[in-house]
Symmetry: C2
Subunit: 338 residues, 2 copies
């Protein structure tokens, strides 16, 4: 429980000097600094974060708000964030709303505001106007990943283009009966993105002079199970069936592949499947997908926040515009059977 005073005593200097020596702010002679460091070492002293924060107004702590950590995208982004943050010597306070409104309220109503954070990163949460305002009122840097939030720095991929590219890929292979598997309304609230993807899909269809069939606009909850169920239903039905499906997430695409297999259909023979994400399992499933670098987005968000905090040079604009994505061709797509 050694405090700064003990170190000051041990080193034979004032607490002010200890503070300066250890934090690197202000001038201290090399010899004094060494003395102080030795004393601190011996006493096993580490600054009290609370006291330091209170006095300086900076907490070296970033808040991260997520709707869940169970989905690939979120856990992967989170890995990217933790990694980058730890290297900068920052702590991370995690707020997992878990899709529960009441938790959401306490997060935005209280937790975020308690002045413990230097900045906030939100992961594809569609924020309510009053929530945006609450965030803004704190006067701390806020960076969003995924969602499109007015007046807030955002790191995101070009959902519209992504989906339209994926669709064009299928069109290019000769498919004319292409379904789309997006997110349900319910999920749109938290994961605002799918509508842009659906728009991209419809746009690509339009460009190819193909009709958008409402019965092929499928929705699920972004999970493997959800994708499985929906695709299985459609492919098992006695009505006209698509020869390909564009999935708004890789996980749903995996579900689609598994569903097809279970029905005895071959992928890509009977059904081509393309996803969006770049999930680690993509290779195993041979999934053609549009990969986004989720880790990178997390890291990028951190850098952005640190920049806003003045910790970093203002890199000339690494994140204005869209985060890059990459088309990855594998074996889940092919020309439709003649």
């Amino acid at each position: 429980m050694a405090g700064i005073k003990d170190v000051a005593l041990g080193a034979g200097v004032s607490v002010a000097t200890v503070s300066r020596a250890l934090s690197g702010n202000g001038k201290v002679s090399a010899s004094t600094r060494a003395k102080v460091q030795r004393a601190a070492e011996e006493l096993g002293y580490v600054v009290s974060f609370n006291a330091s924060s209170l006095a300086s107004g900076r907490s070296r702590n970033i808040g991260v708000v997520v709707p869940t950590v169970g989905r690939w995208f979120f856990s992967t982004v989170l890995e990217g964030i933790t990694n980058e943050l730890i290297e900068a010597g920052y702590d991370l306070t995690l707020y997992n709303t878990g899709g529960q409104d009441q938790h959401r309220e306490s997060v935005f109503g209280d937790l975020l505001l308690r002045k413990r954070l230097d900045g906030v990163i939100t992961l594809t949460l569609k924020l309510q106007p009053h929530e945006v305002q609450q965030l803004a009122s704190v006067g701390k840097p806020v960076v969003a990943i995924g969602g499109l939030i007015p007046d807030i720095d955002t790191i995101r991929v070009d959902d519209f283009n992504l989906a339209s590219m994926a669709t064009e890929h299928l069109v290019g292979l000769g498919h004319r009966e292409i379904a789309y598997l997006g997110g349900t309304e319910e999920f749109e609230v938290d994961f605002k993105l799918a509508s842009a993807r659906q728009d991209g899909y419809e746009y690509a269809l339009d460009q190819a002079n193909l009709p958008v069939r409402p019965e092929w606009l499928l929705t699920a909850d972004f999970t493997i199970q959800g994708g499985y169920r929906k695709v299985r239903n459609v492919m098992a039905a006695p009505r006209r069936q698509p020869t390909a499906v564009v999935c708004a997430s890789d996980e749903m695409a995996f579900g689609a592949i598994l569903a097809a297999r279970d029905l005895g259909l071959s992928v890509p023979g009977d059904l081509s499947v393309v996803g969006i994400d770049g999930h680690d399992l993509g290779e195993l499933f041979g999934l053609t997908t549009i990969a986004q670098d989720a880790r990178g987005q997390g890291a990028s968000a951190v850098r952005k926040v640190l920049q806003l905090l003045g910790e970093r040079e203002l890199d000339r604009d690494p994140t204005r515009g869209f985060f890059p994505t990459e088309f990855v061709a594998r074996t889940s797509t092919a020309a439709p059977r003649a």
Copy 2:
């Protein structure tokens, strides 16, 4: 930026009374409390965590150390933790060592010690003796999930029994050629558990008078891909093949199932697969498994910490002994082909 003084002014009372009224500690008349609350409300006042922590010595903040958030078990436990913590009004500071030693060092060397936390929960990290000591030296409650750590409260399942049950299940079905898919050395460091599972497997084999074949002691990294690769190799080899495999995690079991399918083998016809975990995808894959309630373990760890902090009654011992598990029979296991 309203401070407690502003509220005091607004309510026409002293700061001491405001503190008491808002925190609930100490006596305050109902009318005064109401006045204070109104004033606080109007000013949009929320206490400064830092100041409060500094003064009281309590931070309402729990540290959670994980090796990764990308694996099902960890993300699920984490969900359980966040959920329970948010309800208790606690913050959670996440330390993700990400398997990188250097991060691990900074976590244990610095971050955890900065007196910002009231308690710590570690997720199946095999702690080095000096790390345990560092944790202990902080004098704050520490609860571990998964690992078996000397002198630290631990929440865990009975790995030995789990694995032996899984194995016995297969033996009971008539299998005599049973492989085991566990974790690699490398992963044992962080996820200390698999050796107990392997012991259970060997024990069950022993009991059934079956030999333990070294060539069927498979190891992977606890991922689907890892399981896939290993099982595929074994089942594709021209040598004698197992009719069943016990997997130390459901994710590896999924890999096993996918591998078998890709080889044209039927599950459970040609290969019975049993997992350990209770992964959400188990149902989709029809995986027979021994389910552990990961969320529950997270929640339980939180309750334990809060108890240790005196926030909760000391429930008569909900966690001494093992966390319960449940055998879930599905369709991935059956008697071997005659």
